[in-house]
Amino acid sequence: MADIVIDHVTKRFANFTAVDDIAMSFADGEVACLLGPSGCGKTTLMRMLSGLETPTSGRILFGGRDVTRLPPRKRNVGMVFQYPVMYPTLSVRENIALPMVYDRQVSTAERERRVEEVLDVLDIRPLADAFIENLSAGNRQKVAVGRAVARQSEIVLFDEPTTNVEVNAKLHLIRAFKLVAQRLKQTIVYVTHDQTEAMTLADRIALMQAGRILQYDKPQVLYNEPTSEFGGWFLGNPGMNFVPAEVAGGKITSPILAAPVPAPAGLKTGGKTTIGIRPEQVRMVGGPQDGSVAATLTEQAIGIAGRYLTKVRIGDTVLKVNTESRPPAPLGGTVHLIAPRERVMLFCDGQRVTV
């Protein structure tokens, strides 16, 4: 059993703080994704888990054991990198078996059993005797996954393993990865900048920005209940809209609201307040309705799965709206927007204000 505890870990390089006092834990047997844009610190955090970097301060515990200063080979973790490191002159089967050959606790029979199991789970049995140099990038990465998980270390770390794999092979890899995670129940930490990959693979996602964890929760919670403007924007194709709002006299007014709504008690005044709403949560209708505001349709396109992706303008405010049906007006025409009360979110200085 191995949970991972990150106990107030900071990593500084000269004047730059890559990881800034992170305190969190990954549960045993959980698939956790570290998600964020480049430069957010996710790779540095991963390298500290693997032992390739040492924290400036703080501790890392695997199953209660302090590994902060242990070298990589003493941590008993499997690792898969962007570029798989493999032995080109060995077969797929031999590459998978290799890390176990030097492990005295694994008998020959057990080693063979695990190699066969991994070949099946990853659906690469037909390639078992092929040489690595003859494989596609996607299949090489599958072998790398196989090698990392066959050791049955309690923790496996993945650093953007699908970056250099073409789209179709990527799907196969992600499918194989899901099967491995379900079957072997190892604790997995997976680094990616790809929101879809994180949403698809993770039990929980740790969203990172500027060296900190902004939110750590189930994928659908991150999507539906972002705690920051950054989170609302980063997840979603396209991301959430943020409409300016003003707070005065206990009321909130905003171009997206037909009438002022009561401000929550805790909302400070003087901060930059916005109303967040996802493009697919805005309702667009042809005529005025109760609670609707008028807008001009300025752009229309097709988005994911044939949905209509439009831009509308209310005064100076531009919103993206994503609907299943065709916009009710031509380009340049007037449409009416409804932001359902239960779908709008209030943010102050970038942070969610819950009502």
Binding site: S38, I174, T196, T200, P238, I302, G303, L309
Partner: protein
């Protein structure tokens, strides 16, 4: 400025890269060429800016034949796919270089560099040299340099390829606004269908050196005239199932239904958009719907939508569903999905031409 390509042919050795390419680009449009890599988009652009000559055919700018004019006489802004930055010059100098050559006044250069750098969010990089930049940053500098020119036509060859999704999302918006502001004609190549659909006022499907369909993006999406249009345009990618028409019956993968009127026996490809595959809980259930028993092999979570990969017999199907209305099925689950035969498009197996009537 109107651009016209007339029967352009270009051959490298035995490979015919452009094969009678015809296209009239509307003045002041954002026109996107979408095709697989190797379909001829980049070569077409190189011909337009004058870096290469066609074997035959003509290129017209506002009716004037420029086929044999030198590049400098064409006044076209160009962002090539493979760009090079001068290593010993700063970002600002790299951007300004084409304007310096054209003897543009210094104050005007500075103004344009600042504005374009702002649009591409590289203002903080202006005094750095290329070796201090990441790959994505270099790419934005190259885009900025191409857009700086005083021109009425801009040619952008896959300028956002490989950039992080969120950066692309923002730059797509910026490039569209920039075109409106400049009132210029933008010709833009990509192999990414979501990018093509998002950006294009006019969309050109390029296949094997020809423009096979040219229309508004929505019209191409709603009514693909060729199997290639359906294949290239749409995300997630459409299902294309090889099959046959025989004895009044269409058979393609798990699909079996009565042949639409007027179609003859022979080999076909059946096309089906992911959003036309419906799950239980969808507002469907007409009597002529086809039911398909399948197994879920992967569910991709896009936040607002899910892409569901299915296995039905020996066929793979891709389906999409809106998460706001329907909960996605479990990984590995057996599910029955339904398809309305009216949503199935039929194409000739050999020519790829659309056989059924299509929309409208």
């Amino acid at each position: 400025m109107a651009v016209e390509f007339q029967s352009i042919t270009r051959t490298y050795g035995t490979k015919r890269v452009l094969d009678g390419f015809d296209l009239e680009v509307e003045p002041q449009s954002f026109t996107v060429l979408c095709g697989a890599s190797g379909s001829g988009k980049s070569v077409l652009f190189r011909l337009l800016v004058g870096l290469e000559q066609p074997d035959s055919g003509r290129i017209l700018l506002n009716g004037r034949d420029i086929t044999n004019e030198p590049p400098a006489a064409r006044a076209i802004g160009y962002v090539p796919q493979n760009f090079a930055l001068y290593p010993h010059q700063t970002v600002a100098q790299n951007m300004a270089y084409p304007l310096t050559l054209a003897k543009t006044p210094k104050a005007e250069i500075a103004k344009r560099v600042d504005r374009t750098a702002g649009i591409l969010s590289i203002t903080h990089l202006l005094n750095k040299t290329p070796d201090q930049l990441s790959g994505g940053e270099k790419q934005r500098v190259a885009v900025a340099r191409g857009l700086l020119k005083d021109a009425e036509i801009f040619v952008l060859d896959d300028p956002l390829v490989g950039l992080d999704y969120k950066l692309r999302e923002r730059l797509m918006d910026e490039l569209k606004s920039l075109r409106e502001e400049l009132k210029a004609t933008f010709l833009y190549a990509t192999s990414d269908s979501l990018e093509a659909l998002n950006m294009a006022q006019r969309l050109v499907v390029v296949d094997a050196g020809r423009a096979v369909q040219h229309d508004s993006a929505i019209a191409v999406y709603d009514d693909p005239r060729f199997a290639r249009s359906l294949d290239l345009i749409g995300f997630p990618h459409a299902n294309l199932l090889p099959g046959r028409i025989e004895n009044g019956q269409v058979e393609a993968g798990p699909l079996r239904f009565k042949t639409p009127a007027g179609l003859r026996d022979g080999g076909i490809v059946a096309g089906l958009r992911p959003e036309a595959i419906h799950f239980e809980g969808s507002p469907r259930g007409a009597s002529d719907d086809l039911a398909i028993d399948s197994r879920v092999t992967l569910v991709e979570n896009l936040g607002g939508e899910a892409v569901v990969y299915l296995e039905a017999g020996s066929s793979q199907l891709t389906a999409a569903l809106p998460l706001s209305r329907i909960a996605p099925p479990e990984f590995g689950a057996e599910v029955r999905v339904v398809v309305d035969p009216a949503d199935i498009m039929l194409f000739d197996a050999v020519s790829g031409v659309r056989l059924d009537g299509g929309a409208n």
